[in-house]
């Protein structure tokens, strides 16, 4: 059953305050931004193409971002398009499911505007919209529910079934305080996301039931960056996230970048996430970079991720992922000149899911151990 929501008075009050503040400040700021005379054209143009593939899955992500100056405002416009190509495979005992080739596209647009509002204070405002599925798992599960529930006309509750189109809209704002000039910043950011999901369905003796159509997520982050020594820089991010019908999720990430000698940089990230009743995740990411010439840097990256399995509030049946270990090893290079920069990288990852009972697991081909290859190419130019 869908569990009762715990009550968090502080978060609820904060959420109301956030929505009120965003509702008031965002329209005024966007109006000001739109009608401020343009003093420059595009300052920076960036693009990135990523491709992630394994045996049954292939995902491409193209991102284009323009940064420019409108009077006191700096704006970033980010457009992206994801292409999902999946080989949907039904479990051998699943007599309603059938193998299929799936193709989906997702487009998203994000706008952020920043301006200095005081000597040491910077305000960021953002809006975003996504049309389509956020990840390949959603594409897979949408197809699964379509194959199993669309044909059940006549079953009580079938009128609830509809082939929904996933989308999401978001608002965000952050305030950054440079409390030690050139040495330390602290920022607080808040965001609100309205996610129209393709819902899940379940059937029992009372007929078909549908899960929630809209998930609202409120997130608050505290981030601090510090220069610790002439060769050491740190960043700490703490995030509290509350999503409809789920317990509060807490996440932390600590990053440390160190200069070793004249030509080496060592970057490290340690992160953890926890959410009741049973989700814990942690990861460690380390990168050693070698500055081969003034313009060319080469790097080697290793990453280990582990979680205990996803949160789910299913009734009789679970779509949640089992526990996961994921190890990655990557190589990359970055080329930087005065006006141009580029990055090229390749990463191999190995996903290992906790064992499930294959005789009853409808999603054994979705949550299957697999090898992934990630290829990235990014280019940036400043004008």
């Amino acid at each position: 059953m869908v569990k009762n929501l715990p009550h968090f008075p502080i978060l609820s009050s904060l959420r109301i305050s956030i929505i009120a503040a965003l509702s008031f400040t965002l329209p005024i700021s966007l109006f000001t931004l739109l009608f401020t005379p343009v003093t420059h054209a595009v300052d920076t143009l960036e693009t990135s193409l990523e491709h992630l593939s394994s045996d049954p899955f292939s995902i491409s992500l193209l991102t284009v971002r323009a940064t420019d100056q409108h009077g006191p405002w700096e704006t970033k416009t980010t457009l992206s398009r994801s292409d999902y190509a999946l080989d949907f495979r039904a479990a051998s005992f699943d007599f309603l499911g059938e193998d299929a080739q799936l193709r989906e596209k997702t487009h998203s647009l994000n706008l952020t505007a920043s301006r200095q509002i005081h000597d040491a204070l910077t305000l960021d405002l953002g809006v975003g919209y996504r049309d389509g599925f956020p990840n390949y798992r959603s594409v897979w599960l949408d197809t699964y529910f379509d194959q199993h529930f669309a044909p059940l006309s006549g079953v009580p509750g079938h009128e609830l079934y509809e082939n929904f189109q996933a989308s999401a809209a978001s608002l965000s704002s952050s305030l950054r305080w440079e409390y030690l000039p050139a040495n330390a910043t602290a920022s607080v950011s808040i965001s609100r996301i309205q996610d129209n999901v393709s819902p899940g369905y379940e059937i029992d003796f009372d007929g078909i039931r549908r899960s929630e159509l809209v998930l609202a997520t409120t997130s608050i982050s505290l981030i601090t960056e510090n220069v610790l020594t002439p060769r050491l820089r740190s960043r700490l991010a703490l995030t509290v996230t509350e999503t409809s019908a789920r317990d509060t999720r807490y996440a932390a990430e600590l990053a440390l970048n160190a200069v070793l000698g004249d030509r080496f940089i060592w970057r490290n990230k340690l992160g953890a996430t926890t959410e009741d009743p049973q989700f814990d995740a942690h990861y460690l990411d380390t990168t050693l970079e070698y500055q081969a010439t003034d313009t060319l840097a080469l790097y080697l990256n290793a990453r280990r991720y582990s979680d205990t399995g996803e949160i789910e509030n299913a009734l009789l049946f679970t779509t949640a992922a089992p526990g996961l270990h994921n190890d990655s090893l990557g190589l990359g290079l970055r080329y930087t000149t005065e006006n141009w920069s580029a990055r090229l990288s390749a990463t191999h990852s190995q996903s290992d899911y906790a064992d499930t009972n294959k005789d009853v697991d409808f999603f054994q081909h979705l949550y299957a151990d697999t090898n992934w290859l990630t290829l990235q190419l990014a280019l940036a130019t400043t004008f």
């Binding site: 960036e46 693009t47 990523e50 992630l52 992500l61 998203s108 996504r130 599925f133 990840n135 599960l141 949408d142 529910f145 978001s170 965000s172 030690l180 040495n183 330390a184 996301i193 393709s198 899960s211 982050s221 510090n226 220069v227 002439p230 820089r233 700490l236 991010a237 995030t239 996230t241 999503t243 409809s244 600590l254 970048n257 200069v259 940089i265 970057r267 996430t273 814990d280 995740a281 990861y283 970079e289 991720y305 205990t308 996803e310 789910e312 779509t319 949640a320 992922a321 990359g332 970055r334 920069s341 990055r343 990288s345 990852s349 996903s351 992934w372 990235q376 990014a378 280019l379 940036a380």
Partner: protein, 76 residues
């Protein structure tokens, strides 16, 4: 075991916060190493070495609460 992990995480976070929110200042003329492209925490598409698609493989790695980290039909 889980409660032990959570306590350890909380202790690590709190102590890290105290240690890393440093009060000392490194003068600008000593920061030439820190301004290298690989040393900054930039969200530039070129300077960020982690792929955006990593979150497709690792659902617990997102800390930003951004649109990609929001709900889906897999984690209802």
């Amino acid at each position: 075991m889980r409660s032990t992990n959570i306590v350890a995480i909380r202790v690590a976070v709190i102590s890290s916060s105290l240690v890393l929110a440093g009060c000392s200042t490194v003068p600008a003329y000593q920061q030439q190493h820190l301004s290298k492209p690989g040393m900054t925490f930039s969200d530039s598409l070129v300077e960020t070495t982690q792929a955006s698609l990593t979150s497709q493989m690792e659902p617990g790695a997102e800390t930003s609460g951004g649109a990609q980290a929001s709900g889906c039909s897999a984690c209802r």
